[in-house]
């Protein structure tokens, strides 16, 4: 991993289109500003990892689950 030391108001350029600025540093927290193209996906890593883990967990279903659940859910879900 590349490790760089930056001060407040300094920045990092990544590739042609991403610019990161250290906006503020206090109380053990760093505020980071990111300029990137609109279609670049930017996430807090812990949220990304949480959703990735949930997507992995969601793969564990079996075909018979679908039938059982369809019966259960369709009899109890509200209809629109």
């Amino acid at each position: 991993m590349l490790v760089l030391t930056r001060k407040k108001d300094e920045g990092i350029i990544i590739g042609d289109s991403i610019s990161i600025t250290i906006v503020d540093i206090k109380n053990g927290q760093v505020r980071v500003g990111i300029d990137a193209p609109a279609d670049t996906r930017i996430f807090r890593r812990e949220l990304y990892e949480q959703i990735k883990q949930e997507n992995l967990a969601a793969l564990a279903w079996k075909p018979e689950d679908l039938e059982t659940l369809a019966t259960t859910l369709s009899s109890s879900g509200t209809t629109r």
Partner: protein
Amino acid sequence: MKHIANTRFGTVEYHPDKVIFFVDGLIGFEDLHEFIVLPQKKEGPLFWLQSIENPEIAFVLTNPADFFPDYRIAPDKNDRIKLHLSETDGYLLLSVVTVRPDRSITLNLAAPVLMNPDKRFALQAVLEKGGFSTKTPLPQTVAANG
């Protein structure tokens, strides 16, 4: 002409016109873009979303509005561009279903699937705000009735 896809559950036929393109893949599965929705044997609120590119990858989706009528998530401007949706085009809001080892069901309300049903583009949005859980149990009334 029908195409054949391999799945964990055997081979299935699909029509290439029905392929849904996930612009950014799903979270953790960014390299998988092409999915098909497979029909169920029984009528119901669940859909089986199968990756064409990886037979092992199949998600179960449902319409969260059936269980959480107040859960309304709209695509933002960037989502609309990615989905090729105009300001007035309709879209589908779906949730990834997890069947937990104890067979209880949770919905991932923190990362809904937004879909353009006409042009068949889709993405998994990540909701930073709103306090939605990736493991939202079905409402009590539903669980009790079921």
